[in-house]
């Protein structure tokens, strides 16, 4: 059963159609990359997948025991966060479920996430003093606290230098190998083809949905890649 299945999805943003007639599904263990130009409806689709935006028509179904609030989300950073006085430990723990305090199991989960991303030593460091790549790793650890099933990454390497980007991609790939399903939005199409298993190319309507190898050979894929070079 699919983790997420979208059927004839239509989304509107401020009265304008942002996404139309979109049907696709995400299987457990998949690595899906959503590509497209700016304004192609990627961000609106993310909001809908997170349940922050109601579809105009069509359905989004969550399956395989996944609840909508169990999507580990890595948002684009806001300017306010860059100088936020919080320790790494506090930020990561905020991905856990408070009711209203954190149970011991959740604290352990946060510690595991820190360990997994090699952040244990930085636990007491201040978030705003970290480099951009480290901050992304902290937010990734927080997302892992919310779920171990599905990560939704919104342009995760924006503003990072190539070396740090590559490292972040490697971490994401490792997580995927361990069974975490990945949905990544990116306009870096070369990286998408190299790493993702499935590609969804969006320009309001879906232009392509299928395996990454097929996309590289398809006409739309080639045009998009050449256009960017």
């Amino acid at each position: 059963m699919s983790l997420i299945a979208c059927r004839d999805l239509c989304l509107a943003y401020e009265g304008k159609t942002a996404v139309q007639d979109l049907t696709f599904s995400v299987e457990p263990g998949d690595y899906l990359c959503i590509v497209g130009e700016n304004g192609s409806g990627k961000s609106t689709l993310i909001k809908a997948l997170l349940g922050l935006k109601k579809p105009k028509s069509g359905t989004i179904t969550y399956g395989d025991g996944l609840r909508q609030t169990e999507v580990g989300y890595l948002p684009q950073q806001t300017p306010a966060q860059k100088d936020f006085p919080a320790s790494v430990g506090e930020v990561v723990l905020s991905g856990c479920r408070a009711r209203p305090f954190y149970p011991r199991a959740e604290k352990r989960r946060a510690a595991e996430s820190l360990e997994k991303l090699g952040l244990t030593e930085l636990k007491n460091a201040c978030y705003r003093d970290l480099s951009g790549g480290q901050q992304q790793r902290v937010l990734l650890a927080r997302a892992l606290c919310a779920t171990r099933k599905l990560l939704l990454l919104d342009e995760p390497v924006t503003g990072l230098d190539p070396v740090i980007s590559a490292e972040l991609y490697r971490i994401i790939q490792d997580l995927n190998r361990e069974g975490v399903t990945i949905i990544m939005v990116s306009h870096d199409v070369d990286c998408a083809i190299e790493r993702a298993r499935t590609i969804l190319h969006l320009r309001t309507v879906p232009l392509f949905f299928g395996p990454a190898e097929e996309y590289a050979g398809s006409e739309i894929g080639r045009t998009f890649m050449e256009g960017r070079d």
């Binding site: 997170l50 989300y73 006085p85 320790s87 506090e90 905020s94 408070a98 209203p100 705003r128």
Partner: protein, 274 residues
């Protein structure tokens, strides 16, 4: 020093003022950290102007000040939240509109009834004599409610302050927590306003948070240090105002300003030493 304190405490009105002031300073510091980090600090300023308008209405109606001010300011807080989340008018503009409107209405009402007198002056800049026994009890109840709710929802408030979108995506009812913060802020402002002055109360929200951020690197320590700084400055300001016979609200804000300047300078110095 101790004699001065003993002398101060022998006045009932001063004991009351110190009690209410301490509680208000604590609440304002806690809420202020969240407001400043969410870039909402102007909400305090807007609400205090609305509070002035409400006090003017109370004077005209001859009603109990808090009974009018609490519902009006709380309603204004929700209105501001609604406007800034609907995105039609930006938050800062909305606050500017609301606060000047409230001020204008207040001034018109006062000029039609009593005229500009000492009472109006007290509304604007505060009076340490303003607290009656009932006021103290009500203030204490509200302040304790704010403190308890803040501690209880501390983790959620952190999550919502740090990253609203992520919190919403993981099923936290962000709207409810924003409303809670706005409600608590409105209550704190109404309680503190008459002593500190409606033109000055918003400083209590902003100064301690900014001072604590110069010192601390963890959210929890920012909250705790802000609370300490706020109470310390309140006592210092009240003491100076007693000794020099100057208005308490203004004196407390000046104490806060000096602490912020000192901590900023110390921070700069520490950075240069590195």
């Amino acid at each position: 020093m101790l004699d001065t304190l003993r002398e101060m405490l022998s006045y009932t009105f001063l004991t009351r003022a110190l009690l209410v002031g301490t509680l208000v300073s604590l609440c304002a510091a806690l809420l202020g950290v969240s407001l400043v980090l969410k870039r909402y600090s102007m909400i305090g300023d807007g609400l205090s102007h609305v509070g002035f308008g409400a006090l003017a209405i109370a004077t005209v109606l001859n009603a109990a000040p808090l009974a009018v001010a609490i519902p009006v300011v709380v309603a204004a807080a929700f209105l501001l939240l609604r406007i800034s989340s609907s995105g039609r008018i930006k938050g800062d503009a909305a606050i500017g509109l609301l606060s000047t409107c409230a001020l204008a209405v207040g001034v018109i009402l006062i000029s039609l009834s009593t005229g500009m007198n000492t009472e109006v002056n007290n509304y604007l800049f505060g009076s340490i004599l303003s607290m009656s026994r009932e006021d103290v009890i009500l203030s204490a109840v509200i302040a304790l409610t704010v403190l308890i709710l803040f501690v209880l929802f501390y983790n959620r408030i952190f999550a919502v302050t740090f990253d609203e979108t992520f919190a919403r995506a993981t099923g936290v009812r962000v709207g409810a927590y924003n409303a809670l913060i706005a409600l608590l802020t409105a209550l704190t402002i109404v309680v503190g306003m008459r002593m500190m002055g409606s033109m000055l109360i918003s400083g209590l929200l902003i100064f301690p948070a900014l001072s604590a951020m110069r010192l601390c690197k963890r959210f929890r320590s920012v909250i705790i240090v802000a609370a300490f700084i706020s109470v310390f400055c309140f006592f210092l300001g009240t003491l100076v105002s007693y000794l020099a016979a100057i208005p308490t609200g203004a004196s407390v804000i000046c104490a806060n300003m000096i602490v912020l300047l000192l901590l900023t300078a110390a921070g700069r110095l520490r950075e240069r030493m590195k």
